[in-house]
């Protein structure tokens, strides 16, 4: 393995200055479940790895406010799924985050890492977009807020520049009623990347939003604004017709995990399942 420097800043500013010095040849390190693997495979040619786990002004806690919850960049997925506020307000996020890797991975991997790695198959991302999450991106000069739906540019590419860091995720508490669900297809249970994944959200205006993962270079967000998909008594043929029109906006490819046709076929069957669960959660709140 090529040698690199291991750096351990203690302030956000120091971390950002280091990133600026090294540019593309440095990567920030949180859980490392993707980064260290890539380094070991020789897929990351780096001069420095900047470990952010000792940066005091990057939070390792989940703050529950009156209008949103904020997840610091050092929060690992195991802590996220155990958090009572996350469980109460964002059950689909718990479902999604619980599928990432294995317990060993989730004890180490962070929500922000899952986002910033920008894998089209990232399991937490479709659900976070359905919940209208945004991230705070910090540079040496300014901090900016970016809606997650606008964050991804392509596989491994985001709007976060080489000398910027995502320091937190903000998820607004959904207006009631709101129902969301997550679904995925994998070849085996545990430690497998999603062949496809998706999240569905139904909001108070009966708008149903689907976000599909692993079927395009970035997550694909589509909505049914007619209010029909939110109805539990919609005839199956009409439901499938709308679902197909949403799925039509995806662009799956064939790769090691599945062929294009299989992905397209499973989008519909998992889409039905996820819609059903989102409806159930919606009507639980609607009463």
């Amino acid at each position: 393995m090529k040698s690199f420097q291991y750096l351990r800043p203690e302030t956000l500013n120091d971390a950002l200055v280091m990133l600026e010095q090294f540019g593309d040849s440095a990567k920030p390190l949180l859980g490392g479940t993707d980064l260290i693997t890539r380094i070991q495979r020789g897929q990351a040619d780096l001069n420095a790895v900047i470990d952010l786990k000792h940066v005091q002004d990057i939070s390792s806690s989940i703050e529950a406010g009156t209008s949103m919850i904020t997840v610091g960049a050092r929060v690992v997925l195991s802590d996220l799924v155990r958090n009572e506020h996350v469980q109460k307000f964002f059950p689909a996020l718990v479902d999604a985050a619980s599928t990432v890797g294995s317990i060993q991975i989730r004890n180490r991997a962070t929500l922000v890492g899952n986002i910033c790695n920008a894998s089209p198959a990232a399991d937490t991302v479709p659900t976070l977009i359905v919940y209208r999450a945004s991230v705070t991106v910090a540079g040496t000069e300014v901090k900016r807020s970016v809606p997650l739906k606008d964050f991804f540019l392509g596989p491994g590419k985001t709007v976060c520049g080489p000398s910027e860091l995502v320091i937190s995720v903000h998820i607004p508490l959904p207006g009631k009623p709101f129902g969301a669900a997550f679904g995925r297809l994998t070849r085996r249970k545990g430690v497998d990347l999603a062949t496809i994944n998706m999240a569905c959200g139904i909001d108070a205006k009966s708008i149903t939003t689907f976000v599909f993962g692993a079927v395009g270079p970035t997550p694909i967000t589509t909505s049914d604004e007619s209010g029909n998909l939110a109805k539990t008594d919609l005839p199956e043929s009409q439901r499938d017709e709308i679902l197909k029109s949403l799925i039509h906006q995806t662009s799956p490819i064939s790769d090691v995990r599945a062929g294009k046709n299989y992905r397209q076929a499973t989008l519909l069957s998992i889409g039905r399942r996820v819609l059903f669960q989102a409806q159930q959660r919606y009507h639980l709140q609607a009463g």
């Binding site: 420097q5 291991y6 479940t33 470990d51 317990i103 060993q104 004890n107």
Partner: protein, 158 residues
Amino acid sequence: MPEKKIQISITVNGERHDLEVAAHETLLQLLRDQLDLTGTKKCCGEGECGACTVIMDGHTVNSCIILAAEADGSEVLTIEGLSEKGKPSALQTAFLDKGAVQCGFCTPGMIMAAHYLLMNNPNPTVDEIKEGLAGNLCRCTGYKKIVEAVRTVAEDGE
């Protein structure tokens, strides 16, 4: 450019070590090559199979994808630290009694994952055991006897 070594301090199985590590050295390499604790296995090397599972600061991790430098200041428990006064722990004994070991390569990681599961959930159901061990691959046993072994040491184990 000669590689700069990093000074770290790590407590493994209750014993503190002050060591020098290279930036690219993993926790797994440190355990096996520097401390000669070869119970922890290297298999896939990318966090998929769980053979390298150890407990770091109270949580199971894949030691193959953690830099040794990241483990500075941490407390690590390996399979060697599970035995009590040189005798296998109840969980280790259950693995032997139930025939949950065949080639044995996955066993240390499997036992560390099961130990962690029982720490957090002393009475797991079969499904909870399967979920708790989902990050550990075994290519010999078919898992049945492993699950049985863990059930044996559960609080109401039969």
